[in-house]
Symmetry: C3
Subunit: 430 residues, 3 copies
């Protein structure tokens, strides 16, 4: 079975549901860029796919960076003077400033306040905040709650550790016919946030699961990494072989109901860029194509000038453009199985084009061959038109993708026409 | 006399009328891709121009195709049970399925019906149908008439032959100063249809007649060929010398009152493409430029990847975009002398640019020469501006066409300015 | 002090006022393409800057041209039959056809009329007319006045001389770190016309004055030349060294309140063209970019094909597009200190980009360096974004200008980010 057959055989509705179910299972875990929450997440993925788990010791130098100490947390709360837990990590792991150092003490409100983070503009949501590289402690809460806090003494407790340990990431490699690779990368370091990026983690997991069952031309490498530092670690450890990556995709924020957004690679005209545009154009979905900029997710690292890998990014609404972004509003209600389903279809569509794109050579290049006597041409329609296009441009210089772009027809129609001509001996593959 | 003088001396109104008159004379003949109707048409053209007539035997292999048997028809009709001729070839040659095999017999309506072709959407018109490569017989009639047919027996008679013979086409070659050729091609295989393509045949005939009376840089080759198979025959027989063709134009459907349509060659930026755009832009006529696609008329063959000749197509409303297309509605009322006149002017304008385009070299390239003391520059206006443009860009790298495109001025104005500078010794021709 | 510091330290409002004051001082002088008015103007500039004055003898051959005789004028008038001076050179030097030959005589109105020039469409303004290369005499007056003239005899007197002498122009050269030059050219040959081009002359003077006080990478050459013939003289005398000119700007008509107009060099994509577009785009000023055309001011000569220098032109409303152009309406009320100030800021901004544009090399090209621990990245904003852009594109192939264009950010922001990264050892200059 190849990817074309896979795409035909899948029940995408069921896949969307399955991705959502996986997300729901991962949602409660308190993840960070290091620690047991990350390991637990990777273990959960291993129920679907054989994720290989890597551990990079704290203190390891990775390019300009150093792998930080490992952070773990068991409990945290703030109690008021009546002894009531008014902020409780057990209710939401967003309540703790991610990477908080341990603390135990009693503070008057005035001294506590600099350690409390809220969103005045979205007073009902808890913000998601981190302090990876600057030691600090703190709590996140809704602005409404903050405003209700009365003067008085507050008991603060964060039962965390920040110690030498390691950074964890997951990786799967699926060997294909060729050594050339397609990289699929997603960050898995956020705690209870759904769209950012359990959606990407879960979609990628299901994708890897299915690709593991079929044959494919390209080899595939899936990375489940903590954002930024994880990509830097991986690039640092795999520098000699990154030139095998011929196409790459960062997958994030694919569960909301916004329009698709494809962000081009730094190169801007890499095959992955052209393929993503082509697939979205013919998908029937609303979408936007945006140029590369050096801010965003891990495409920042893959597209740094020393690597300049052909890695684009597929999202729906981009990070920071939806109010729920990095708040407790990005929960399981914010994402929908139907949206995950559509995203899965787009990703598989992109991979299908990458797999199937090829160059045919017209074996009758002088004038048109007589399609009629081969039963290929009764009257002109989309299929005949596609065959005429493939024959006209199969001069050895044009890929099927080129032909799709020039004809304005979908890759699927062009590719099908190519197959049909091939079966009739009118073109050969080169 | 050169083409510039010719264009100035012609009475285009008279030419439009003359083209129409020729069309009217050719209209009644029953043409097909082979047979005596085609020969009769070529003989009619010989009253204007010395068309050389070629005969290619049936069965000749031409690339992937085989020259078909020759078809001839003398008469055909359907009689009702009262013995009345209800469909009569003598009234319109469109009534017979073109390439019908001979038949004589009596059929009940039910058995006759699969052999009757109509246009339900245009119930008053007789469609034009062919069956060149699949033996069949049939009649075309208006849908209104079909609906009035009563049950009963019908006498069917088609007095045709489909036998070994030959395919006929006409060709004229006008030797110019150089061996490099301009190809003008039109299909002449349709029976009583006016716009498609007696308009192209007749315009090309008058064009060849006039070009035969003047001197020209390029050699010209005019082809009057049956569509598709004719182009394939010609390319097959002339393969070694097709690389002499520097520019080419397929001329079809130039008599209706629709906007001009220039379809670019496969190359998309051939000189003929740029020239056609330039001439149409400054023509004062409404027009559209469309990209190459591998469907249409004989540009399909000239632009097949094994040839990839710089051949574009000039039409007015494209085939299939007007309801009269391939029906009895495409008759002598559908075309107008005024439209033929405008089309003729455009075609001659295109050839004029191809003939006159050249590179001048500014002999005073350092600063402007003093036009004033040569009486060339009194105040700034279109003419002085054109001279400034020609001088500024005549660095040996820009043709007059380039200068016209960059300045936004018509080729005619630029070329006139070039001539004037040349006369004053300010530029030389290279 | 370099140009960045200069730009920061200048009080532009004061500069605008100063430019206006200089214009006002120069306004009454009767200039032409030769003569004492031109010399007097150059002497006036020497109170600001050490203009070197060149004299080219009449009759000198300069490419296709010949330096004309020198013209000087002391007085001119027309008296009516009552002996009243009805046209008086002392009131406005525009009253005399520039380059008028001497005349003294009495003429009936009918004979005088062919020597009188008016603007029927703008009946209140005196036109500015010249007759450099065809000997003639004449007077310019308002059309209203012409219509009031009664029949009768008129006494005509023009006390001018047209004799062998020389053509005068001014030049300043400011040596920079490199021999490569930036050329700033303005025509100074018009009599009492303010915008065209005392605005350009005065702005250029103040610019030269300030650039004379700072250090700069490029050498600068300022030309104060009579239009056309002056540029031709200068190019003719400096032909061997014009290839030192790497960027150039013709400055004319920069005092009116119209939108800025940058006219591209003949090359169209020269660095000066890109820089001017970039500066105007981020200036907050309304502007238009127009393509090169071989009509206009002295860019015509600099961009003639034998030189093809990268010289653009900065104006506000282009010549001929405002009714006051070449009339007495182009007076000191037509220009405004505020507009001169804005123009000066744009010109200095363009030079700043030319001076500061460079290529940095990212010393941590593999993944992003950790900006946070260097205190360079607290939260994402314009400054951090600019640093990310500079690092991402500093692969040795992109200038700061390239980065500004691709990021859509102003050169100033990009350049500041580059400096900051340089100070932190994250990039080096190449």
């Amino acid at each position: 079975m190849n990817i074309v057959d896979l795409k035909k055989s899948l029940d995408f509705r069921e896949e969307g549901q399955e991705i959502y179910t996986l997300m729901a299972g991962l949602y409660p875990i308190c993840r960070s860029i290091t620690g047991n929450g990350y390991r637990e997440t990777m273990e959960a993925l291993r129920r679907y796919i054989p994720v290989e788990i890597h551990e990079i010791p704290s203190g390891t130098k990775v390019f300009d960076w150093t792998v930080p100490k490992e952070w773990n947390i068991r409990d945290a709360y703030v109690k008021n003077s009546k002894g009531e837990k008014i902020i409780d990590f057990q209710n939401s792991n967003l309540h703790v400033l991610n990477y908080s150092t341990p603390i135990k003490g009693v503070f008057p409100l005035k001294e506590l306040k600099p350690h409390l983070f809220t969103l005045p503009d979205r007073p009902e949501w808890i913000p998601y905040r981190t302090s990876y590289y600057e030691e600090n402690w703190g709590f996140c809460l809704s602005h409404n709650q903050l405003q209700r806090l009365e003067d008085g003494q507050y008991e603060v407790f964060i039962d965390s550790t920040l110690e030498k340990g390691s950074l964890t990431y997951g990786e799967i490699y699926l060997k294909g016919e060729k050594e050339e690779e397609i990289l699929i990368s997603c960050h898995a370091c956020h705690p209870s946030l759904a769209n950012d990026n359990l959606s990407g983690v879960s979609l990628t997991t299901l994708l890897a699961k299915h690709l593991g069952t079929i044959s494919h031309r390209f080899s595939y490498r899936f990375l489940f990494i903590p954002g930024t530092i994880g990509a830097i670690c991986w690039l640092s450890r795999n520098e000699p072989s990154v030139n095998r990556i011929k196409h790459g995709l960062v997958i994030t924020g694919v569960g909301d109901s916004g329009e698709f957004t494809y962000k081009k690679s730094r190169r801007g005209d890499a095959e992955i860029d052209r393929v993503a545009c082509q697939v979205l154009k013919h998908s029937g979905q609303a979408y936007n194509i945006i140029d590369f900029e050096p801010y965003g997710y891990d495409e920042r690292q893959y597209c740094s000038p020393g690597f300049d890998l052909p890695v684009g990014r597929l999202s729906r609404t981009p990070h920071g453009r939806y109010p729920e972004y990095h708040t407790s509003g990005d929960n399981l209600d914010f994402v929908q199985p139907q949206c995950l389903e559509d995203s899965f279809r787009i990703v598989l569509g992109i991979l299908e084009v990458l797999e199937e794109n090829c160059v045919y050579l017209n074996l009758n290049p002088k004038c048109e061959p007589q399609l009629g006597r081969r039963g290929l041409y009764n009257s002109i329609g989309v299929d005949a038109m596609a065959m005429l296009w493939v024959m006209n441009l199969s001069d050895g210089l044009h890929t099927l993708l080129d032909i799709g772009e020039r004809s304005g027809m979908s890759f699927e129609i062009i590719s099908t026409a190519g197959h049909k001509l091939y079966e009739h001996g009118l073109v050969e593959k080169i």
